[in-house]
């Protein structure tokens, strides 16, 4: 078993681009779900419109990279408005379903044959990252260090994406921190508990929910950018409901309604996933595990993801940072 590689990929995954992009999207979910109680199951759509906004602007319309970013941001904000207007009047469980539906509509349109010329069908779009990499201050090469025998290196372009990503995470966390301890955040949290009560106190519930949806959506869309830039491509199926489910896993893992919850959740999620993947597939390859083959090993780690999520919620429902008291209050 190649422990060096396993450890190296595992450690790298703690700060890698997946962690970054999922953390950003999860911060958005945390604003929606953790603080406002909006069961937004369409977060993947925010990532998708951002990624596609960038991709289509650059590849189809031939405009520069930064225009693509603006288009993506605007698209996310518009999506929030479009999704919000019909859904924000709904009860939490209805909202969940409608947001999934909305997100799926978007994914289906992106992957449809009818709009293949724009969105590229199920293959998606690629080749729009040049503008971003041109801004890369790191000269080509690998950067990193050896931790004992374990090499921890990132290519220059990866490092650039990660740098930008972590700065974005820091900024987003700061915003969430500031805003959630303010009266604005208090209104959101109150809405989570009982909308009518908040209305009776003279707050415009719809407007606050919308603000929350836009804020979380725009932050989530940053995750979509990072995806597009890190992979140099966008495919519709990456932005399916399963992605949103993983985001929820991360938020809960870290602890809902905690500033750093989603970030830590995302780090943990990927570390565990990569570690499991490395260990399992190595074990199969090395013949340590014989009852499954290499493909099944890939599936097995998702079995563990599911199991992990279950056990976590059963034994530490408040997540890593959460407050046990809060969970014990029966929300009904």
């Amino acid at each position: 078993m190649d422990w060096i590689t396993i450890l190296s990929t595992t450690i790298k995954s703690a700060v890698g681009v997946e962690t970054v992009l999922y953390a950003l999207a999860a911060i958005g979910i945390n604003i929606h779900f953790g603080y406002t109680g909006l069961l937004n199951f369409g977060q993947a759509a925010f990532m998708a419109v951002a990624g596609y906004g960038l991709a289509v602007t650059v590849t189809v319309m031939g405009l520069p990279f930064w225009v693509g970013i603006i288009v993506g941001l605007v698209a996310a904000a518009v999506l929030a408005l479009l999704l919000g207007i019909p859904t924000l009047h709904l009860r939490a469980d209805y909202l969940a379903i409608v947001t999934i539906a909305g997100a799926e509509i978007i994914r289906l349109v992106f992957r449809s044959v009818a709009f293949k010329d724009i969105f590229g069908g199920s293959d998606g779009r690629r080749g729009f990252g040049t503008g971003f990499q041109e801004l890369n201050p790191f000269p080509p090469g690998d950067y990193g260090f050896n931790l004992g025998p374990i090499p921890l290196f990132f290519a220059h372009w990866q490092l650039w994406v990660m740098l930008v990503g972590w700065v974005l995470i820091a900024v987003c966390c700061l915003i969430v921190y500031l805003v959630m301890k303010s009266p604005w955040g208090r209104v959101l949290k109150a809405i989570r508990e009982d909308e009518d009560a908040v209305r009776s106190l003279g707050k415009n519930v719809f407007s606050y929910k919308m603000q929350s949806l836009v804020l979380g959506g725009v932050i989530g869309c940053l995750g979509g950018f990072i995806y597009g830039l890190a992979y140099g491509s966008v495919q519709p199926d990456v932005f399916g409901t399963e992605t949103t489910f993983y985001l929820y896993t991360m938020v809960i893992l870290g602890g809902a309604a905690r500033v750093f919850g989603p970030v830590v959740g995302s780090m943990l999620f990927w570390v565990l996933l990569v570690l499991l993947n490395g260990t399992l597939s190595e074990a199969v390859a090395a013949g340590v595990i014989t009852f499954i083959d290499a493909n099944q090993a890939g599936a097995l780690r998702y079995v563990f993801v599911g199991l992990g999520l279950i056990l976590l919620l059963v034994f530490r429902p408040q997540g890593i940072f959460g407050d046990k008291r809060e969970i014990a209050i029966d929300a009904r």
């Binding site: 069961l39 019909p86 859904t87 009047h89 709904l90 009860r91 469980d93 209805y94 969940a96 379903i97 409608v98 999934i100 539906a101 909305g102 799926e104 509509i105 289906l108 349109v109 992957r111 449809s112 044959v113 009818a114 009518d196 409901t241 399963e242 489910f245 929820y248 896993t249 809960i252 499954i292 099944q296 599936a299 097995l300 998702y302 079995v303 993801v305 599911g306 199991l307 992990g308 999520l309 279950i310 919620l313 059963v314 429902p317 969970i327 014990a328 029966d330 929300a331 009904r332």
Partner: protein, 430 residues
């Protein structure tokens, strides 16, 4: 007289063609254009065909032989223009579509075929009357799609009923419900293909086993969670974990391939008026409807049914009324899982099996339940039928790959107007 001659030569020609058949096999030493003119199954002899190059340079002019065949060899590959002289066709015959010019390409070392479809002159109606025909095919297609919609809608309704039962009683939005559907299909597949049971007993066994597993799930898992006082949102997220867990377990054991049951695959359809349906679909729809109605009535009329709704409203109060809350929930889980499994079997019967089959329709199930109004059994039926119909019938206007978009959009629109769903009731305020 002439007819008879033609018929005879055609027969002979056919014979020759058949015998000569093998000559075609293998890389034919052929570089040019060829074709055969037939009218109502009979070869058309003596029709004139002119071949020119793309720019109009004449290449060759030929007439069809007794077999209706013609053949032009060319020296240089490229694009050609082929013109059929309509005047040389028999009097009552014309080219379908009217255009007598073809522009095929000849590739090096290969012959390209050229086709002229011929029809009786009077039959122009077929062409002209296109709009009329279009109308009737439109309605035929609409009818077929309506049937497909009902077929799908009933399957969704069945799955939705299971979901709605469990949601209605425990307040759990079960994202693992799709996997319960898959489970039923896979268990049945196991009995059917693995153990070689005929599909019908296999389905019975599968559904029963799935029901038992549903019971177990509640007894050893969800019930324990309830006991710990786990909240509904937490449970919902847990169900996501369960869904992922089960789905990948299926992947490991069932593999990612699409499979079908040993019986009733590719069952030929029978024509019923404008629609054609496989008998298996009709039987399945009958079973689905029966189950839906029976369970729906049981829920509103029987004591256990009412108790289930009471538990849904307020478990503590239900217990205070002397209802064995855990018992009721366990019954609901058993029934819900069994019904979901049955839906899985039906789905597998009509669409084949895959480890994601349940997950793939989960959203539609949710849409059905939501559209009808969360927690009402008949709402789930109505909502699902609407979803099913919309999905299929909308393809009259939208590309099929976007068919779910229509249904989901309807969901959103209905909820805009009726936030509580079609059959749902508004909550009282204050």
């Amino acid at each position: 007289m002439r007819r008879a001659v033609i018929a005879f030569t055609a027969f002979l020609g056919g014979l020759v063609f058949l015998l000569a058949g093998p000559a075609h096999a293998g890389p034919a030493d052929c570089q040019g254009l060829r074709g055969t003119l037939t009218f109502q199954g009979q070869p058309v002899n003596g029709a004139k065909i002119a071949v020119t190059t793309e720019s109009g340079q004449p290449v060759e002019e030929v007439t069809t032989n007794a077999q209706g065949a013609w053949d032009v060899q060319v020296e240089q590959p490229g694009r050609f223009k082929v013109t059929l002289d309509t005047a040389t066709l028999p009097q009552n015959v014309e080219i379908r579509g009217g255009n007598n010019v073809r522009t095929p390409t000849v590739y090096e070392g290969n012959c390209s075929s050229v086709l002229y479809a011929l029809q009786a002159k009077g039959a122009a109606g077929q062409q002209q009357g296109d709009s009329g025909a279009g109308q009737s095919t439109f309605w035929a297609q609409a009818a077929q799609l309506t049937f497909e919609g009902l077929n799908l809608g009933l399957i969704i309704a069945l799955a939705a009923l299971g979901l709605s039962l469990i949601y209605g009683t425990t307040g759990l939005t079960n994202f693992a419900h799709g996997e319960l559907v898959t489970l039923g299909a896979i268990l049945t597949y196991m009995f059917n293909v693995g153990f070689g049971l005929h599909l019908i007993p296999a389905a019975v066994a599968g559904v029963i086993l799935a029901g038992a597993l549903g019971y177990g799930q509640d007894r050893f898992f969800w019930g324990q969670l309830r006991k710990r006082g786990t909240g509904t949102i937490a449970m919902m997220i847990i169900s996501i974990g369960v869904a992922i867990f089960l789905r990948y377990i299926f992947l490991i054991f069932f593999s990612a391939q699409t499979e079908s049951f040993a019986q009733y695959t590719a069952q030929p359809g029978i024509e019923i008026g404008p629609i054609s349906a496989a008998p298996k679909n009709l039987v399945a729809m009958g079973i689905e409807l029966a189950v839906l109605i029976v369970v729906g009535i049981a829920l509103t009329r029987t004591r256990t049914g009412k108790a289930a709704r009471a538990v849904a409203d307020n478990p503590a109060l239900a217990a205070s009324s002397g209802i064995n809350v855990d018992g009721v929930i366990r019954i609901v889980w058993t029934a819900g899982a069994a019904i979901a499994a049955l839906a899985g079997v039906m789905l597998g019967l009509s669409q084949n099996l895959k480890y994601t089959m349940g997950q793939d329709i989960l959203l539609l199930i949710f849409a059905g339940v939501t559209l009808g109004g969360l927690g009402t059994a008949f709402g789930a039926l109505v909502g699902s039928l609407v979803v099913g119909l919309f999905i299929q019938v909308s393809t009259l206007w939208v590309p099929p790959e976007l068919k779910s978009v229509g249904a989901l959009a309807v969901l959103i629109i209905v909820l805009l107007v009726r936030p509580q769903g079609i059959l749902g009731r508004r909550e009282r305020i204050g």
